[in-house]
Amino acid sequence: MNRLIIDIKDKSFTKDGANDAFCVIKNLHLELNNNEFVCLVGPSGCGKSTLLNTVAGLDTQFEGTINAGDQHGTLKTSYVFQTPRLLPWRTVLENIQLAAGDETIETSRITHVLERLGIETSLNSYPQHLSLGMQRRVALARAFCIQSHTLLMDEPFVSLDQPTARKARRLLLELWAEHPRNVLFVTHDLNEAIELADRVIFLSDSPSSVIGDFNVDIARDDRTPEQVSQFINQLSANHQNIQHLL
């Protein structure tokens, strides 16, 4: 079983010059089980990216624990950022191989993932020779090529136009079905969240904590725009406390 348990008691930043710390996350508890796809929705500035950074181990200055339950020791994550963040001086292949670290991944595996994303011909290209959309797909491929327990995604489709974003979401779901793992997907677009997720989690304003946790019980193939807006209406009718986020 693949688990991720996030239990943050307190995460604060001390601003330069200010004496008192600014609390971003307070008593946030979150569990992901069995390769779940979880979308995090919350007002901007509520600490969603901070949360992902703590899970990725980029930010270790917090009170609380983040672990994978008790079965495997270290938690291995892969991270898709808002921007592709590829090394411009390394080829697509090298970028992916570097992220893989000590574990050697076969080139065939990489080409397979790239094929799925329709960019297999760019294997030996440098990122700057690719369009931004292709770079994003490379970043996605990098995250899926390595064997991680959890995939963190920080608004990866934020600057894409609607049709491209829809296509990207479909590709993401296909890749995830092929290489399953827990996914923690941050977005401020509720439609996107409902289209993708098994569970949608709502965060409060900072200091943020969980204020809503809903299973999306529509089969993924049936998530048409009408179904999605109907789901949102239901949420809105039944839950007053998250109304400002809908």
Binding site: L58, F81, R90, G101, Y126, Q128
Partner: protein, 247 residues
């Protein structure tokens, strides 16, 4: 493109030689020998083996002190650029070292360590090091934090991060300090040799000065400029092309 730039530099150098030749003819004084005369002396000095011997020694000192200054400078500059506290503490040291005249460090090194090879090389390194540190520190401050975070998220580890994430970003700064460094270091090496060694270009030029042999001074200078230009065009330029192939 390449041909025309080659033609261009040939023409431009030809013009310089022409001006030199004309001025020499006009002045007609032993203080400014004509380029042809300098060329004759240059050939003779090469044939006698004297020039290759002294040039070789100077190049050897240049290579060692350049390598040391670059390695130390990159390491220290990177540390100072990344660690704010460290930088705040040592910044004043850097200012002091930047402003000590080259002559003072050279004389002090010879007094403290004696007229030995190590003292000579050490003096050159001390003179160049602060410049490298300042340039690299600037580069280290402007490193892309997003890429460094990416490297941490994918657990690159220290060595892989330095090699694949940090050094490629520092490359333009390293090249800049290598270029200015080469020019600066060989000038200092000559002074070091003049003051305390019994071989090398600096020693020779000092000797020619005492003999008032201007033709030989110019011949040695020309040979040295040619060598430095060769290093620049072959070594540094090819490094540049190789490292910039992704652009």
């Amino acid at each position: 493109m390449q041909r025309s730039s080659f033609l261009n530099s040939t023409l431009s150098l030809g013009l310089l030689l022409l001006i030199w030749q004309l001025t020499a003819t006009l002045i007609n004084s032993p203080t400014l020998p004509a380029p042809t005369l300098v060329f004759d002396v240059l050939i003779k000095a090469i044939q006698s083996g004297e020039l290759p011997h002294h040039l070789g020694i100077t190049l050897y000192r240049l290579a060692i002190s350049f390598t040391l200054a670059m390695l130390l400078g990159v390491a220290i500059g990177l540390a100072l650029g990344r660690k704010k506290g460290l930088n705040n503490f040592f910044d004043s040291w850097l200012v002091i070292f930047l402003n000590i005249p080259a002559l003072v460090t050279i004389i002090l090194c010879y007094i403290w360590f004696g007229l030995i090879e190590t003292a000579a090389i050490f003096a050159v390194v001390i003179n160049k090091l602060p410049n490298v540190i300042v340039t690299i520190r600037e580069g280290a401050r402007s490193l892309d934090e997003e890429l460094i975070d990416m490297a941490r998220a994918y657990q690159f580890g220290r060595i892989k991060t330095i090699r694949h994430v940090i050094l490629p970003q520092l490359f333009p700064y390293i090249m800049a300090s290598a270029r200015t460094g080469l020019a600066l270091i060989w000038k200092i090496v000559l002074v070091v040799e003049m003051l305390g060694r019994s071989d090398g270009m600096g020693y020779q030029i000092h000797l020619f000065f005492q003999l008032f042999d201007i033709t030989s001074i110019l011949a040695y200078t020309v040979s040295f400029i040619v060598i430095i230009q060769l290093i620049e065009t072959t070594l540094l330029k090819s490094l540049d092309t190789k490292a910039q192939r992704w652009k």
